[in-house]
């Protein structure tokens, strides 16, 4: 065998030679002084280079600070995506439940969803039992609770027919500022606490009011006597449109007062990032937990201290009476939603009528 070159020796030391080649090389090296020296030197290089490379591992972290903000951004994106998924999933649940059970109120799945999103605040009025009494002003729904809807404030009778999809009151009206404005609003907006029926007969769609807003437009229809739904057209999708957003008044004054004060929080207009701004200042009393916190807010603004202890289950069962459907206008790409305290089936039917009317008018105005 010829003297192996340095590459072959390294291959041998690295175990990369075939058994046959390795055996040949070994027997050669055994009898060749020069190659023994070359092998020893190669071993030295292997060991030394390995040691030198190990010294490279003493590298401080955080040399590239740019990575940190990027990770943060990613988290935000993921959070937003997760929120969308949850919301979309929730809507799906609501719709599915609606198909199976138009009234939905008793659906456990839907109830769970609502429990997760419904604000706690109205538990109070339910506990009280006196319709419209004492609920002079409800604080703007706590940020997170807005989520969704100002839960219906309910009187002893839970018919809750008067379906009012949103809070229409003045923007973020400070709760305590308008203690007894409730009935005025009822009259003004036509959302009278009527004796309609959720599954009442189909009445012609009557526009109660149109509310153009930045990025969206709302139309409040009276679909039956005392029964209104809110139709929301949105230019671009935001979380809020997908979320159920409606309050269902029961006995006018109480619910309207609630609407009045819950205003900003109840609106789907407020971007989620505005929550802090929309929420009322935290109450002085230290909250025990989030639910209690909302209760405390209510109590603190003079609504009903007594109600603070009301169980959350009341809220969920009451909140269960509002439905929302969402869809996208195929021609304009707008996100549309329809909310009201009627069954999903009814909402679907109203949706068809609205679409028909819109098509007939040839504009977005019904």
């Amino acid at each position: 065998m010829q003297h192996p070159d340095e590459g072959i020796i390294h291959s041998w030391l690295d175990g990369a030679l075939s058994a046959e080649d390795a055996a040949q090389l070994e027997s050669h090296v055994a009898g060749c002084e020069r190659c023994r020296t070359a092998v020893a030197e190669a071993r030295g290089f292997v060991a030394a280079s390995s040691r030198i490379l190990t010294a490279l591992d003493d590298v401080p972290r955080g040399v590239v600070p740019a990575a940190a903000p990027r990770k943060g951004d990613l988290r935000v994106v993921w959070r937003a995506a997760a929120a969308m998924l949850i919301v979309a999933g929730g809507s799906f649940v609501v719709m599915r439940e609606g198909e199976d059970n138009p009234e939905m109120a008793s659906s456990p799945t839907a109830a769970v969803f609502r429990e997760a999103t419904a604000p706690a605040a109205s538990a109070d009025s339910a506990a009280d039992g006196a319709p419209g009494q004492g609920v002079d002003a409800r604080p703007a729904a706590p940020a997170r609770a807005r989520a969704d809807r100002p839960a219906p404030s309910v009187a002893g009778d839970q018919r809750a027919e008067n379906s009012v999809a949103q809070s229409y009151a003045a923007e973020a009206a400070p709760a305590a500022a308008q203690p007894s404005i409730g009935s005025d609003v009822v009259l003004k907006t036509g959302m009278v606490a009527g004796v309609g029926s959720t599954a009442g007969p189909v009445a012609p769609l009557k526009v109660v009011r149109i509310e153009p807003r930045i990025g969206e437009r709302r139309t409040i229809y009276e679909v039956a006597e005392g029964d209104t739904v809110t139709f929301t057209e949105t230019e671009s999708l935001r979380l809020e449109e997908v979320v159920v957003t409606s309050a269902t008044g029961v006995a006018g004054e109480a619910s309207t007062a609630q609407r009045q004060s819950g205003a900003r929080g109840a609106r789907s207009v407020a971007p989620i990032t505005d929550r802090a701004a929309a929420a009322p200042p935290p109450p002085p009393a230290p909250p025990v937990d989030s639910l209690r916190r909302r209760d405390t807010v209510v109590a603190n603004t003079g609504v009903m201290a007594k109600a603070a202890a009301a169980p959350i289950s009341a809220v969920t069962s009451l909140a269960a009476q509002t439905n929302t459907i969402n869809w996208t206008d195929a021609s304009t790409g707008k996100k549309l939603s329809l909310s009201g305290k009627v069954s999903v089936a009814r909402l679907q039917e109203i949706k068809l009528r609205i679409e028909k009317e819109r098509a007939a008018s040839g504009s977005r105005a019904p």
Binding site: I8, F45, A48, L53, D58, A67
Partner: protein, 172 residues
């Protein structure tokens, strides 16, 4: 689909070390390693996993290197901004820091292919894997490695010698 979790468990540490040695920055190395595993996710199957991972990581580094100048400028600005937030580990002794600096210099002095082959070998890649990752013929890997090792050691020793001479001059 490729079992990325298993790939990650098996090769992540190796890959990060390889990249850290290659790049001199552990965060950057981890970023590149992550990107490598993300790409592995998109593969339906990978024949030679380790070679594939190291090849992809190496290519990513190469792409990154093009952006390097821009990045350095950006970093210079950021380092001002983040100075207070970055906590440098203090356990590195002066001597170790000097050794690391010399090692870095010596490694950087190698030809790119020699350096990569050597770093991959240090992570346990066999000659076939190195050949595949670097698109070399398997027969040339031994030669590449022997050259890389010799040059690295000689270069490091030269740096060490000049440092010792400097210290001697400073002392006298």
């Amino acid at each position: 689909m490729t079992d990325v979790e298993r790939l990650f468990r098996t090769y992540h540490a190796q890959l990060v070390r390889y990249l850290t040695r290659r790049l001199g920055d552990r965060d950057w190395a981890e970023e590149v390693a992550q990107e490598t595993f993300i790409r592995a996710l998109r593969q339906t199957s990978i024949e030679n996993e380790r070679a594939w991972l190291f090849a992809v990581a190496t290519n990513l580094v190469r792409d990154e290197a093009r952006k390097d100048m821009r990045r350095r400028k950006h970093l210079a600005l950021l380092s001002e901004e983040y100075r207070d937030e970055v906590i440098e580990p203090q356990e590195t002794t002066l001597e170790r820091a000097q050794e690391a600096a010399m090692a870095r210099k010596a490694v950087d002095g190698l030809a790119e292919r020699d350096r990569l082959a050597l770093l991959m070998r240090e992570e346990g890649l066999d000659y076939n894997e190195i050949a595949e990752a670097l698109e070399l013929s398997p027969g040339s890997v031994g030669t590449t490695l022997s050259r890389a090792r010799r040059r690295l050691v000689e270069s490091y020793e030269a740096l060490q010698k000049s440092r010792e001479e400097r210290e001697k001059n400073a002392a006298s």
